[in-house]
Amino acid sequence: MSFDLKTEAAGRAVEPLLPVEKKLIGFSLGLGLVLLVVLVALNHFVPVKL
């Protein structure tokens, strides 16, 4: 496999974050945190039955 990882990892010009990437990160994190709070609440109100 002719693949120079050193060049790949270090030699490339830095790609700035595009608006769509920022949106993806923001929406994912925001939705994740909101859903987590909902699930924690659900976990609290629907306790485990043994």
């Binding site: 990882l5 790609e15 990160i25 994740g32 987590l36 659900l42 485990v48």
Partner: protein, 489 residues
Amino acid sequence: MSDIAVKAADRAAVKDNFTEDWLAVIIGVLVFALALFSLGGTDLLGWAVTTSVYTDIGNALAPVAKAYAALGGVTALLLTYVALLAVLSAGVAALGADVRKFALRFTVVFAIAYASWIAGSYAYIAAVTPAEQQKFGIAWSLKLTNEGGFIVALLSGLVIANFFPRFAEWLKEAIRPELYIKIAIVILGATVAVTAAGRLNLASSLLLRGVAAIVEAYLIYWSVVYFVARKWFGFSREWSVPLASGISICGVAAAIATGGAIRARPQVPILVSSLVVVFAVVEVLILPFLAQTFLWQEPLVAGAWIGLAVKTDGAAVAGGGITESLIMAKAAAEGIKYQPGWVIATTATVKVFIDIFIGIWAFILGYIWTNHVDKRADKAKLSEIWERFPKFILGFVVVFAVSLWLAIGTTPEIAKALPSAAGEANVFRVIFFILTFFSIGVLSDFRKLWQDGFGKLAAVYFVSLFGFVIWVGLLISWLFFSGLKPPLA
């Protein structure tokens, strides 16, 4: 870059759409179906070998069923080897591999892996309670349980990978950790169902809490790791997507699926995958012992944590197995005897939930990339969701559903006989676990970490995993599973 892991992942076996996933479904369901014959009084798998804790090696091996006791342990071992060789050789032939090469190498892999398992069952390594030590006439032991054999198998593989790289390269045809663990997970469906049938309320609660794992892996972990890779380490999008997926979701499968979805060059996700395997080994060597020390009073938190923190199916579910045996050993020493199966069932549930959404996540990323980032690339198609769906999960679901129906929807006689049948299938699950551990070890060439360029990738992984993923996983496992205990035996 020469790299066994790359080649192994590259080979991820596809011939006319027949993949390792489908092979795992067929073999796993076959083992399960054969085990079910015992419900009708015909024991087809009772000859399979099991290993007990021993001080006299002559007592280590035996057939799993008493009806086959006359065979003796060595014959049972040979029969088990021949059966696995035949079935797996037929399987890899269907995948287009060289059967002769595979058969020879599998023989060596099986021999070393099972020898490791036997070594791990030596009483000085495995005996747990003072009563066991007294029974074997020993004054001390490492108390690893006989599942310490998994760690011995992993270490054997690591020694080969790092000190005998040519031998590791020679073995590679039979080094198929993804295939072995997928077969094991399909078979595990029976054990999980039998375990769940005893406590349906607790089992359904586990499923509900599995949803939290999806939210955490896909939405929280992924976005943070992607940001770290892009912003702090300056990686390109092509590298950052598979890297974030590998660290956040489910290692190899997710890195390859999402890398393909954004049309990355094939080498990129494959190199990320080899890094995932190396870190998974480090985690499996450390986390179960941390769990035993700090979480032994919260066994299901420990099981969920391993499922969230360890990033390959093989290492995670196998790590769940080690964690269960270590925690049960510690609890037993404190006079608490939990029912077995709950910790590993929690790990497997978390992992399966995470796996299910790989295809959907890959499609979402593919859609965004081909429509908004790289508009020249061919557009993502809905059919990719099915193409990237890990098919072995279907096998797990089928085995689980049939077992659950047999346990609670049929006659009391069948329900009573089912645990024994599932136990015989479980013997093969354990053997496939052993093969997985050994294979993961053989793929883990730590020298890669010192190669030029790999350090930066490893740094992202290290920072994300130890600075964020492990701790958030612990917090979320604690939020959802604390206070939940396995039933007492």
